[in-house]
């Protein structure tokens, strides 16, 4: 049995089921989280008590507070995992920044303009599944395959990535990476693209096992 799920993970699953227009109920949630029904029921009980979810005739639904919590959780996760790189300097910077209270101003400092922040929040809301299931493109090893989930960054960068063929849902394969935090070469739509490490870190992907690959 995997680690015990947290409250926010339950909320993420409920949000995803809603977006998939499926009936969110305890058994389904438990199976998606690989948890026992009892534990799941306990967590949902806590969520109901805190008014993060509500019981409707279409099953469980996130309340506004619940949505906000999920978004904040994902925002923090993306900030920690993707926007701050894995170099020593980045980690130190991450620690020094401490707990962010003014997210908006903070994203600005990371090079997101208002429009990009707006888009980023939308993507966070619409992200299917758990944010913890995504990894950074820069984390994949040579030969690994993945599907693109989203890119966190300024408007221009996201758009250029999309135009070069890295649209959400696209399958990509890491061909090689240059040493010392150099760029990463990915094969996408039959073309090889080199992406700088700073960009590759901010591309969120889901790992694909060989059997899942379409190609």
């Amino acid at each position: 049995m995997p680690e015990e799920a947290s409250l926010v993970e339950v909320l993420e699953v409920i949000g995803t089921l809603t977006r998939e227009r499926r009936f969110a109920q305890v058994i389904e949630i438990a199976s998606r989280l690989h948890q026992t029904v009892d534990l799941t029921r306990e967590l949902i009980g806590a969520a109901l008590e805190q008014r993060l979810v509500s019981n409707t005739q279409n099953g469980l639904r996130l309340t506004e507070d619940g949505e906000t919590l999920v978004r904040k959780h994902r925002e923090e996760y993306v900030h920690r995992t993707y926007v701050h790189g894995r170099s020593m300097a980045d980690r130190v910077r991450g620690v020094l920044e401490g707990r962010v209270t003014d997210w908006h101003g903070h994203w600005h400092r990371h090079g997101f303009d208002d429009e990009s922040i707006h888009d980023f929040h939308r993507s966070m809301e619409n992200l299917q599944g758990r944010i913890e299931d995504t990894v950074s493109l820069a984390d994949l090893t040579e030969g690994e395959k993945c599907t693109i989930v989203l890119a966190a960054g300024g408007h221009g960068m996201i758009r250029r990535l999309a135009e070069m063929g890295l649209t959400p849902g696209t399958e990509a394969r890491v061909v090689r990476s240059a040493p010392m935090h150099g760029p990463i070469e990915v094969s996408v739509r039959g073309v090889s693209l080199a992406l700088g490490r700073g960009i590759a870190i901010r591309v969120l992907v889901r790992r694909l096992r060989d059997s899942e690959s379409r190609a």
Binding site: L127, R160, E163, T170, P183
Partner: protein
Amino acid sequence: MQAKRTLTVCLAGNANVGKSAIFNQLTGLNQTIGNWPGKTVEHAEGTLHFKGYTIRIIDLPGTYSMSAYSMEEVVSRDYIAVERPDVVVNVVDASALERNLYLTIQLLELNPPLVIALNQIDFAAKKGITVDTKKLSEMLGAPVAATVATTGIGMQELLSKVVEVAEKATRSTDIKYGQEIEASIEKLELSVKTGLSRLSSRYPPRWIAAKLLERDEDVLRKVELDKGDAIISQATEIADQIEQVHGEPSSVVMASERYSLASRIAGASVRIVSPPRVDMSQRLDAVTAHKIFGYPVLAGIVASVFSIVFVAGDAMIGVLEGLFSLVLVPATQTFLSMALPPVAVQLISGGVVWGIGAAVTIVLPYIIPFYILLGILEDSGYLPRAAFLMDNVMHKIGLHGKAFIPLLLGFGCNVPACVGCRIMETDRERFLAGFVVTLIPCAARTVIILGLVGRYLGMAAALALYLFDLSLVFLLGRVAFKILPGEPVGLIMEMPPYRMPAVKSVLKKTWARTKDFVYVAFPFIVGGSVVLQFLSVTRLTSTIADFMSPLTTSWLGLPPIAGIPLVFGVLRKELTLVLLADLAGTFDFSSILTPVQMIVFTIVTMIYIPCVATMAALAREFGAKRAAAVVILDSILAILVGGLAYHILSFAV
């Protein structure tokens, strides 16, 4: 019947698909290369005759998209929409059809009379891919000609289709998107048609609608000018809705939409005959882009390029310089002195003829061999590998890997390097790269380092000076990167497969670039030479040297005569040595300069004002104001560093 006898055809396509090769096949030597009016975007044009038609061919810049994000893309789409060429030929790479069709779909939105040149079918076949041209043509609603540009296969067929489309004047038809996006576009298109009469007579209303949905800045501005505020707010509302549903920016949603169309069309027309296997290109990449082996390969290639250029240059330069200084200049002198006063003779022979000599002696020996090797490197596809390997180093000075390419050119000559900065995406990056490039020791500066410091103080000292200059480049790049406002851009670059470079294409590129160099540099070198000759005839040079003497003698610690060569060095940096020898009446520099003076003299010539040709290139690429800023900055820097070096070294020695 006298039909329209001249046709205008433009070539559009991604980079690295053989578009230029098709252009060369079609136009041969009848081509001119310049810039689009008012833009630093290359404009290539050529003509050919076919079936009684005179066909003007315009090679649009290679782009991946038709958005407003780069100058090249705006130039291309405005050309197609506003100038309305008789036919647009879209060159697509058969081996990567899906990706290439992304641009095709955007071209179709502009409804031009379209012909597809399905290029590199030989290369695709090697990868086990065949394309059903009939199916492709049916799905796109445009004729398709299969071509192999490198060998000229399919050119006749392509031209026949172009003429056919031009005669019928068939405009391509719209391509339908998915239901949701299609409905939004149609709704907006209707408002555009009725509300924006002026703009929709220039651009297809459907295209305006699609661009509004993407929040294309250029189109938004145009609509605003056409008093389309109501339409903008309608478009914003629809785009917001789309974003709400998809959770992505509308531009990304549109890109996904186009790619899914491209994928469907490619899927229906491509047949994979044999499974992909490791080809030659991938095997080469296993070494040339390798984490460790890639670097010695890169160093080896760079070293051999420059040693070839220097060996070839050295051999030719002796002959040419002899020709000019011993034969042509004295000959014009004797010839002209029969008819003209001595001052005019000196201005013409010493200014014009000698200036032409100075220009020719850089172009022939250094520039041409350098351009040939550059053409080979470019056509082989190696340069993106170099950029890939050097990306993290370039990031230290705020640029990404692609900037390594102009920097590398800078070691040969700063002029093509300035032009080479065009590959950078934003204005900021172009300028930053351009600034760094002027500090790169070009061939002429290397000659001074070798001829003065290398010869008298040993190769170790020369190498140390070279490394000093490079660390200065690095440091200043970093400072400029911090000072210039704006965000650094990351690397997003295609890595095209390796190809065998074709002799014809390399020679043509060399020819075109040499011509461009001559146009940019010659007037300045010759003009500068006349001005300097005038100064020396009127004895103003010594006045200038006197004026500069506090600087040259006290601060830099150089002998008084060193001021004049430094002034003349603006024409061509290696002239400083020749002039110094002239003025001192000896080629033995050790008799006129102390070792410290040699180092200081070399440092100053290395850094101060870029030569006139570079100044001209800077002004063309970045505008006079910014060029002047670079010139002033470099000069101050040279005096500062040179003076510091003098004081530190004379204290230490």
